[in-house]
């Protein structure tokens, strides 16, 4: 062997290893480029929505966004020390409410907080109507009487650049400006609102300072002579609930940008100022609903095994030609629209429907005691077993197809009875099929919406119906998202198990 071998070279003179690596990289890139349009498409149209839902299940920025000054002020409040937040907090709430009411945001916040403490929604609506009639009008009159320049938005604009007497005025002015801009108005053309004068007054009396600006100095001198108004009193006049510490505690508890509140709600717990507590008995529905969803899905899975096993066994052991014909009877329901099958069950199961008619005609059931088969759990289980049965039969069939007949024959030739041969030899071999079919049916069942909604009545509905209700009727999207997230996690765990047992690449569609 000569020692001049060195690295093997490709035709173009590069080392073969480098050349091969380059080709491999190019191939990888090509494959990735082919996949990337679809990947991008699915990420935008599907993964992003799921991520959005996960985000919404903890997101709670509405409180901070609608009443930012109040939540800031509440940070310093300790409910154990003082019964109510201080006057400054009430003023902050007043300022926030004025702007929120102008943009009609306070009702949304009210409904949000109402999930946590019933009654807040009407409190907010009522207060929104009244914040325009506060006594801050008196300040406005006093200051504008003192100097007409206070009426001019240009004065406020100048002060915003040169410096307001205090943070309350500055913050109120920013809020006012933003509100006007949000409404499409020009802040340099609108008359200043009384809320600005209220803030100005509190700042002027709060700080012991003298101002170079004669306008401010004159206002400062005049301020001491004005009767201070009590914001606490004004709010109490709107509704006594504002002096209820529980309302304030609720606002404080839910002031954070993210909250576990929706998840706690999904498991019948509640985040209260005192920590996590269990909800009242009459409000506990979700754990029951999750349990019902699981139990009914198990019953559906079990009846699918019961009905699917004989069919799969028959199909796997018949000659090819007749099995193919009978397979059509399995595939036709599989391919028929879900709505068609649900409508037909709705028609068949009615008290005046075909099934009851036949039972009465045979004489099993008396005409006056027709069976209640629909709008209850029975209806859901019957209809969903029918709808999901093909999903059990198909995987079972493909597993049974692979069990060699010689196994059973061998068992019999060794003296096993038919039953022993089946139970000790055939059945254990078919268990993977039962596992695959059961997980598939179970995954599909726990997320079902349409059929329970149509034939389930009130007792036969699943968690998914509750999710739909919160999205479209109660508009509690956060709770819907939290319930959905829990359901999603359950399905993903099952899916992971399915992947371990069957492998996702082995999913087969329609035989």
């Amino acid at each position: 062997m000569s020692d001049t071998a060195g690295p093997v070279l490709a035709a173009d003179g590069r080392p073969l290893k480098v050349s091969l690596n380059r080709a491999l990289r190019r191939e990888k890139l090509r494959a990735f480029l082919l996949v990337s349009p679809l990947l991008l498409f699915v990420l935008v149209t599907f993964i992003a929505p799921i991520a959005d839902m996960l985000f919404r299940s903890v997101e709670n920025s509405i409180v901070q966004e609608t009443i930012p000054r109040t939540t800031d002020a509440l940070r310093a409040w300790d409910p154990d020390e003082t019964e109510l937040p201080d006057e400054g907090t009430f003023q902050a709430l007043y300022t926030d409410m004025v702007f929120a009411e102008e943009l009609k945001l306070h009702t949304r916040l009210g409904s949000r907080l109402n999930y946590e403490k019933p009654g807040i929604s009407s409190l907010f609506r009522k207060s929104g109507r009244s914040v325009g009639k506060f006594d801050t009008k008196d300040y406005e009159k006093a200051y504008t009487d003192l100097d007409a320049a206070w009426e001019d938005p240009a004065t406020w604009d100048r002060l915003s650049r040169e410096g307001f007497p205090g943070p309350r005025t500055a913050s109120a002015y920013v809020g006012w400006r933003e509100t006007l801009i949000a409404e499409g108005d020009d802040p340099l053309e609108e008359d200043p609102w009384d809320v600005l004068f209220g803030a100005l007054h509190s700042d002027l009396v709060a700080y012991d300072a003298s101002y170079d600006d004669p306008l401010l100095q004159a206002a400062k001198t005049a301020s001491a002579g004005l009767d201070p108004i009590s914001y606490t009193q004004q709010f109490e006049d709107i509704d006594e609930d504002w002096t209820n510490p529980e309302v304030w505690k609720t606002i404080q508890t839910y002031a954070a940008k993210y909250t576990p509140g929706y998840f706690l709600n999904s498991v019948d717990r509640q985040l209260t100022p005192e920590g996590v507590t269990t909800r009242d008995d009459n409000e506990r529905i979700y754990i029951l609903l999750f349990q019902r969803t699981l139990i009914m899905s198990m019953m559906i899975t079990f009846s699918c095994i019961l009905l699917g096993y004989p069919i799969a066994f028959l199909l796997a052991n018949l000659p090819m030609r007749s099995a193919n014909v009978l397979m059509i009877l399995v595939l036709l329901p599989f391919w028929t629209s879900l709505l068609v099958r649900t409508s037909s069950w709705k028609v068949l199961l009615q008290q005046q429907g075909v099934i009851n008619d036949v039972l009465v005609w045979i004489g099993i059931v008396a005409d006056d005691s027709r069976l209640q088969l629909i709008n209850n759990q029975t209806g859901t289980i019957i209809a969903m077993t029918h709808i999901l049965l093909p999903f059990m039969i198909l995987p079972l069939y493909s597993v049974m197809k692979t069990i060699p007949l010689s196994y059973v024959r061998a068992a019999k030739s060794l003296g096993a009875t038919d039953w022993t041969a089946f139970w000790r030899v055939y059945f254990p071999n078919s268990v993977p099929g039962i596992g695959a079919g059961s997980i598939l049916v179970f995954i599909l069942a726990i997320g079902y919406y349409i059929t329970p909604e149509l034939v389930g009545g009130t007792k036969g509905v699943f968690i998914s119906n509750r999710i739909a209700y919160h999205i479209s009727s109660s508009l509690n999207w956060g709770l819907a998202a939290a319930l959905g997230t829990i359901l999603l996690v359950a399905v993903l765990i099952l899916y992971w198990a399915y992947d371990k047992i069957v492998g996702i690449d082995n999913v087969k569609l329609g035989g």
Partner: protein
């Protein structure tokens, strides 16, 4: 199971026949609900059960009035039109993106193959109500909620897993030396794809397309949330009909859909046979 041996005992015979009877009953359970609505849809009365005239097979017991209602009702016709407008577009999107990606995924070296596959299959795994909720939240953020394109994109996403699964399954049996041969004879990749690869994987693509089509055409949960009144599809109209004012017209629509699915099933079966014949798996 294939036939009873001549030496079978009485017990074996009894079991053999009772097993067949049980299977017959289960088949009946599977098929009867679908078959029974067909005669019911020709009911001359507005009832959901067989009238005495129908049982006596008298012609006056039967009529086409529910079909007439379907053909003339504005609600039904506009929902049919919406379905016809949405499903093909969604199918087109899923098939074109899906086929391309399936070809990419069947290359020997794909980085992160498992992760990509998991993402692409996920619309099939995630319960529809969750997809619907997420899409409703997200699409209303970006202004797609309640629009035609919102529904089309949502349905296309739901159809993609089916296209990926069927097309990758066809590609497993694809002989890659054919594309090499084509390239060898001077065909560029595009020509190779359309003249060599596409005709061979066409059965897979078509059955994927049928799955995607039926997914969109049958879908009601997502459209219920993502769509608005302007995108009311046929299943949505059926859903409202079943929930609110149940009318026998639904049975006529259901019958039409059953006929449609029989046609679809036949097409798929023929495609499957063709593909098996091409691959030499069965004598045909």
């Amino acid at each position: 199971m294939s036939g009873l041996p001549p030496y079978a005992s009485t017990g074996q015979k009894a079991w053999y026949y009772s097993f067949r009877v049980i299977c017959g009953l289960i088949f009946f359970f599977l098929i009867a609900p679908i078959v029974v609505i067909i005669p019911l849809s020709f009911n001359a009365q507005d009832f959901f059960t067989f009238t005495p005239e129908m049982l006596a097979l008298k012609p006056e017991g039967y009529s086409l009035k529910h079909y007439e209602d379907f053909m003339t009702s504005h609600d039904w016709q506009s929902s049919l039109w919406n379905s016809v407008r949405i499903a093909p577009m969604a199918t087109f999107l899923s098939v074109s993106f899906g086929t391309l990606a399936a070809i990419g995924l069947s290359q020997p070296h794909v980085p992160f193959r498992r992760a990509i596959m998991a993402i692409l299959i996920s619309p099939m795994i995630v319960p529809l109500i969750i997809s619907a909720a997420g899409m409703y939240f997200f699409y209303s953020r970006i202004g797609l909620q309640g629009t035609y394109w919102g529904v089309v994109l949502a349905h296309a996403a739901l159809g993609i897993p089916f296209v990926i699964i069927t097309v990758t399954a066809t590609l497993v049996g694809f002989d890659r030396s054919l594309t090499r041969a084509a390239a060898n004879m001077g065909a560029d990749p595009v020509t190779t794809f359309f003249r060599v690869q596409m005709p061979l994987i066409l059965p897979g693509v078509i059955s994927g397309a049928l799955f995607a089509f039926i997914t969109s055409f049958d879908e009601v949960v997502v459209v219920l949330f993502v769509g608005s009144a302007g995108q009311k599809t046929l299943p949505w109209q059926m859903f409202t009909g079943l929930r609110e004012q149940i009318s026998p017209t639904i049975l006529a629509v259901a019958t039409i859909l059953v006929v449609l699915s029989i046609m679809l099933l036949t097409t798929l079966e023929l495609l499957r046979r063709r593909s098996e014949r091409l691959r030499g798996l069965s004598p045909g």
